[in-house]
């Protein structure tokens, strides 16, 4: 096991920069997820760590070793690919044993490594099958087994769950997390799915357009998004954003463009007079007869909660109530805003205030 460091890492394809200077420190044994929309450079960064792409500038370290110029096999890493990348002409056991065989391990040694890995993943009855005879979830497990058998310093996962159906994805999510808790191997995991990131990671790295937007623990990103991008990317339904300014007389009053007044949890005197964006999580509203009126547009009861699209201060906002709401589209209901979870962003720079 080892730590992983990215130091001002850059990558260009031709003259087109895709990674524009990334610094990330990953501690030994940590489960880190790189998340961002497609094209943000997260997969490229992972492939650079794996040694499948070369590094244009900067330094990548695994442990104390700079790996910039090392071949993939010298980096002591194992990777799980999005399409599993199983060798179709080999059985499950052979797939898992391939790397050991290349190293010249004896039959007995291969057996002692493959068997426990297969046991952990529940693959023992499938060892003699070929990949084409397996379901998606089983193939995914074989791909993980292939990685576990190598007992590497670092596990790399490249969107491993995106080819699975929703139900299986949730199950595999828990399985991977449990596996990490058992093996405690440093893991770098790439996904575009922020829910995957939130549920699995010790630390999330949010990437956008080749740069790191924010690094932090899942709830840290949720509670304290550093900028509008992170605020909008993390959380589902996404944070509501309302344009406006602070009341020049009273910094704890936010005045939306249509004049609606919204409460501010942490007033920022310096922000007076600036164009601002007011961030409001869908679940930080609760029904309150004396609160702010909103107009119901769509209501979606799911049983455990009620999701709603409504008009607040002239814009569409998503709301989630943890109670049942007896309202119909067109109705006006009153809500109170939980001031502990309101956010203010500078409209120009997008930074949190």
């Amino acid at each position: 096991m080892a730590s992983v460091d990215f130091v001002n890492v850059k990558k260009s394809f031709g003259s087109h920069p895709v990674i524009k200077g990334v610094d990330v420190e990953i501690a030994d044994g940590e489960f880190v997820i790189l998340v961002g929309p497609s094209g943000c450079g997260k997969s490229t960064l992972l492939r650079m760590l794996a040694g499948l792409e070369n590094i244009s500038a900067g330094e990548i370290r695994i442990g104390d070793k700079v790996v910039n110029r090392l071949a993939p096999k010298e980096r002591d890493i194992a990777m799980v690919f999005q399409n599993y990348a199983l060798y179709p002409h080999m059985t499950v056991a052979e797939n898992m044993a391939f790397s050991l065989k290349l190293k010249g391990a004896s039959k007995a040694e291969i057996e002692t490594r493959v068997k426990p890995a297969a046991e952990i993943l529940g693959l023992t009855p499938l060892l003699d099958r070929y990949p084409r005879q397996l379901s998606g979830g089983q193939r995914q497990r074989v791909a993980m087994g292939r990685a576990i058998v190598r007992d590497p310093q670092v596990f790399l996962f490249d969107e491993p769950l995106s080819n699975l159906d929703a139900k299986l994805r949730v199950a595999m999510r828990a399985e991977i997390k449990e596996l990490h808790q058992r093996l405690k191997t440093t893991t770098v995991y790439v996904t575009h799915d922020q829910i995957e990131a939130m549920t699995m990671a010790d630390k999330i790295v949010v990437m956008h357009d080749g740069i790191v937007e924010q690094i932090g623990a899942p709830l840290e990103l949720y509670d304290q998004p550093a900028n509008l991008f992170v605020a909008g990317f993390i959380g589902s339904p996404a944070m509501n954003m309302i344009k406006g300014r602070l009341d020049p007389e009273n910094a704890s009053r936010f005045i939306a463009l249509d004049g609606t007044v919204l409460p501010v949890g942490k007033p920022v005197e310096a922000a007076k007079g600036k164009d601002l964006i007011y961030g409001l999580r869908p679940e930080s509203m609760r029904l309150d007869g004396s609160g702010i009126p909103i107009t119901v547009v769509v209501i979606e009861p799911t049983g455990s909660e009620t999701q709603m699209m409504a008009k607040l201060a002239g814009v569409d906002v998503a709301c989630v109530f943890h109670e049942r709401v007896a309202a119909r589209p067109g109705d006006i209901i009153n809500v109170a805003i939980d001031t502990r979870s309101t956010h203010l962003f500078d409209a120009e720079s997008g930074r949190r205030l």
Binding site: L52, M79, A85, Y87, F98
Partner: protein, 337 residues
């Protein structure tokens, strides 16, 4: 010249037009006999079902008829001829076959054919594979591929004429115009009469077929190589495989089915090799093959329908199992796993 072009165009129009007219008329007739409109609902459904049952036969019919006349009938006729004497009149049982297996020339042809079978498919597939892999890695790969592929467009006879010049021998004292002899002479060797050197001349003839067929193997294998998922190769790289190991343990096994199809396709071609032998040596100097021997007995000097037919049957028996396997393999490749 103009007259020929005109007659060719005319023939194409008649041929294609004839097909169009046939299919259109047959289809129309079916609609008239079993109408699906203007009749009661139940009758329309009945008629549609009848149409669906008959239409495939109408469309496939002409092809089946032509196949029967030009393929099945000759096979049956050849089988019958092979158990008759040279005139095709008197029944002689298996005499032609027992003659064949005692005939020195026939055994020589069998031996040569086996030699061709051992060398040509292997050489074409191997070279095709190597070229396909290497041309993928260089910027002028596509140019190289086109050059390797070009001979496939040349007829066997045309290719043989080209190679006749390559192997050309001029008597001592004369300037050697064949490039092979010119090279040999340049390096101080003695010019050889390549195509009349028994045993080795077989290989000089094989080179021609290899030259033609490598392009075929290359194209098919190249597309198969492209079909290998990159991720499996990347996974093998991370697993610690060297370039050589990736090629043999990851890439080759994944295109094994295609290699087999290429190999057997060329094998079938080799079993029937005729034009090259006819054009280059006409089977002289111990270079005969079965197909050329058959032609000799059937239509030329031999003039023995029975023996010619017997040799044809033997070639067919050799081809059929490979053909069946080849078609099965190709279907499996095409139909996925």
């Amino acid at each position: 010249m103009t007259a020929q072009i005109l007659s060719a165009v005319f023939t194409i129009i008649i041929g294609v037009g004839g097909c169009v007219v046939y299919f259109w008329t047959a289809n129309r007739l079916l609609d008239v006999i079993f109408p699906s409109r203007g009749v009661s609902g139940a009758a329309a459904i009945d008629n549609l079902r009848r149409q669906g049952y008959i239409r495939p036969w109408l469309f496939v019919g002409p092809a089946m008829l032509i196949l029967a006349v030009y393929l099945i009938y000759p096979v049956v006729a050849t089988l019958i001829l092979s158990v008759h004497d040279r005139t095709g009149q008197n029944f002689v049982g298996m005499a032609n076959y027992s003659w064949a297996f005692g005939d020195r020339e026939f055994l020589q042809a069998i031996f040569n054919n086996i030699l061709w079978l051992a060398v040509v498919p292997a050489a074409c597939t191997f070279l095709g594979l190597i070229i396909a892999v290497l041309t993928d890695k260089i910027w002028w790969g596509n140019i190289a591929k086109s050059l390797v592929f070009a001979p496939l467009a040349i007829s066997f006879v045309g290719a043989s004429v080209i190679w006749k010049f390559v192997y050309e021998y001029r008597g001592e004292g004369q300037a050697q115009i064949g490039i092979l002899n010119a090279i040999v002479q340049y390096f101080g060797g003695n010019p050889q009469v390549w195509i009349s050197t028994p045993f080795w001349n077989n290989f000089f003839l094989m080179v021609i077929l290899i030259w033609i067929q490598t392009g075929f193997a290359m194209v098919i294998l190249s597309s198969a190589l492209r079909g290998i998922p990159d991720e499996t190769i990347e996974a093998a790289t991370i697993d610690g495989a060297s370039g050589f190991q990736i090629f043999w343990k990851i890439m080759i096994p994944q295109i094994w089915g295609t290699i087999a199809v290429v190999w057997t396709t060329i094998t079938i071609l080799v079993l029937k090799v005729f034009d090259i032998v006819l054009t280059m040596t006409n089977g002289q100097w111990n270079s005969n093959t079965l197909a050329n021997l058959m032609f000799d007995w059937m239509f030329r000097g031999g003039g023995d329908f029975g023996r010619g037919a017997a040799i044809a049957v033997i070639i067919m028996l050799a081809v059929v199992p490979i053909m069946i396997w080849n078609i099965r393999q190709a279907n499996r490749e095409g139909g996925g796993h």
